[in-house]
């Protein structure tokens, strides 16, 4: 049975405004650990591997904040590391003696819908050392490898700098390169354009709610939309146009949330008009005007509870205007 190594560079530490990976390349922070419709992309990737029969999954990450837990998923080991690529290579080397099957390696910087069984069979048919997943835009951070061909020296270069045989990915791919991609992932899921399922119950056609979510009298939810676990929607609030309000957040009295993602543990104040945006605590990204604001006025937006949970806001604070991506046009049409 196959095993898998998942590498998540949640923080590719560098100076403010420009991020440089451990390999000296300019890179932006990964969104894979951020919850979208109840689960992170990382968790969804792990579940996909488990469903395909991958029985041992090692996750290497340099994320410093409190990490989501996978206790309920069998065979998942999380290993925080300053250099996740090196740690992954060392683990592969140590366990090579018992690795008698192919190894799936994912650099989790994109959301990819693929069949791991297909990928493993593709590599077997090619009899090559390594194959790499790709779509019509080019190579992705997904490899199937013969572990005996992996050396401990610079795993990143081995995988990225060689033109390996390409395994075509025909499923949905979102490269999560910028905040617009993150928003697009939520919209595409709510519009049933991908397999990503919201976590919770579909209480009405197109309206999903997580455990413990409260929607007060007079609040209005327009399909499709997602209300995460523990969320409170206050009276006279309106949630519309493929908006998702993630766990432990509050939308206060009379506020309109339109075509917007409210990330976990965020408070959105009274009487606001929030549209085409991503909110994370006191950070607001407006995707239409392409600006990132830190709002110090806690009556407007802020962290809901003290940040014991994952705090992804500093990732958004580092986004510049040039890296926003293309905004989603006509969300109403997307909603179908």
């Amino acid at each position: 049975m196959a095993k898998a190594v998942v590498i998540l560079e949640a923080e590719r530490g560098g100076t403010e405004g420009m991020l440089h990976s451990l390999h000296g390349r300019k890179m932006e922070p990964s969104f894979a650990h951020i919850e979208v419709l109840g689960y992170s992309v990382l968790r969804r990737a792990i579940e996909r591997l488990i469903q395909a029969g991958v029985h041992a999954i090692s996750v290497f990450t340099n994320q410093r904040e409190s990490f989501e837990r996978f206790d309920d998923l069998p065979g998942v080991v999380v290993a925080p590391s300053e250099n996740p690529w090196r740690s992954a290579a060392e683990r592969i080397q140590r366990e090579m003696a018992v690795l008698n099957s192919a190894l799936v390696i994912m650099n989790l910087d994109a959301y990819i819908e693929f069949d791991p069984v297909d990928a493993l069979q593709f590599r077997d048919r090619r009899e090559g050392a390594i194959v790499r997943g790709c779509d019509d835009r080019g190579a992705l951070g997904l490899w199937v490898a013969d572990p005996s061909r992996i050396s401990a020296d610079d795993l990143y270069a081995q995988l990225h700098d060689v033109e390996w045989d390409r395994f075509p990915i025909r499923g949905y791919v979102n490269r999560l390169e910028n905040p617009c991609d993150l928003r697009r992932l939520a919209v595409d899921s709510l519009s049933a354009k991908c397999q990503l399922q919201p976590r919770g119950f579909e209480v009405r056609p197109g309206i999903w709610m997580g455990d413990g979510a409260q929607v007060e009298k007079g609040a209005r939810l327009v399909a499709p939309s997602f209300i995460g676990r523990g969320v409170r929607i206050s009276p006279q609030a309106l949630i519309t146009r493929c908006s998702n309000v993630e766990c432990d957040s509050i939308v206060d009295y009379g506020t309109v949330v339109e075509d917007t993602t409210v990330l976990p543990n965020s408070y959105v104040g009274i009487g606001l008009d929030l549209s085409h945006s991503i909110v994370d605590g006191s950070t607001l990204l407006n995707l239409q005007h392409r600006v990132t604001l830190t709002i110090t006025d806690s009556a407007v937006i802020r962290r809901n509870k003290p940040a014991e949970v994952k705090d992804s806001s500093r990732h958004f604070q580092l986004w510049t205007n040039a890296g926003f991506g293309e905004p989603i046009q006509n969300t109403k049409k997307n909603a179908g």
């Binding site: 606001l272 008009d273 407006n286 005007h289 600006v291 709002i295 110090t296």
Partner: protein, 135 residues
């Protein structure tokens, strides 16, 4: 509305928060006390504005309107636009792409002050019915 005084253009500070509002109001206050004040606020440098800043803008507009004047916003930075839209006050203000346009708007002649010109046939034939009879 006929106004004879000059149009004053004032720069809104980059950090338009509780700390800066007091200073700003001290500067703009005298302008709003004049008869029929005409003020343009240049918001091109605004990078941060909190609810105190928004409240100050609304207060200035109110004071200007009380004295039969007006206050307009010009060259809104993206940050200022986002904040005004977020707090649902963007539609309250008249906004312009640049200060010159805003200043010119004070000198524009209102449409309803122009009497529509009489048709060409009025002087000779009177109303339209008479013109048809004549032709």
């Amino acid at each position: 509305m006929v106004t004879n005084g000059p149009v004053v253009v004032m720069q809104v500070p980059e950090q338009f928060n509780l700390g800066e509002v007091h200073t700003f109001m001290q500067d703009v206050g005298p302008l709003l006390q004049s008869n029929r004040p005409r003020v343009v606020l240049d918001c091109s440098q605004v990078r941060m504005m909190d609810s105190a800043g928004v409240e100050a803008l609304l207060h200035c507009l109110e004071e200007a309107l009380k004295r039969d004047g007006d206050l307009k916003l010009a060259a809104l930075s993206p940050e200022a636009e986002v904040i005004l839209e977020l707090m649902r006050v963007a539609r309250v203000f008249e906004t312009f792409g640049d200060c010159d346009e805003a200043v010119r708007s004070f000198h524009a002649i209102p449409v309803d002050s122009i009497q529509p010109a009489a048709p060409w046939y009025t002087a000779r034939f009177g109303d339209l019915g008479a013109l048809k009879e004549a032709s």
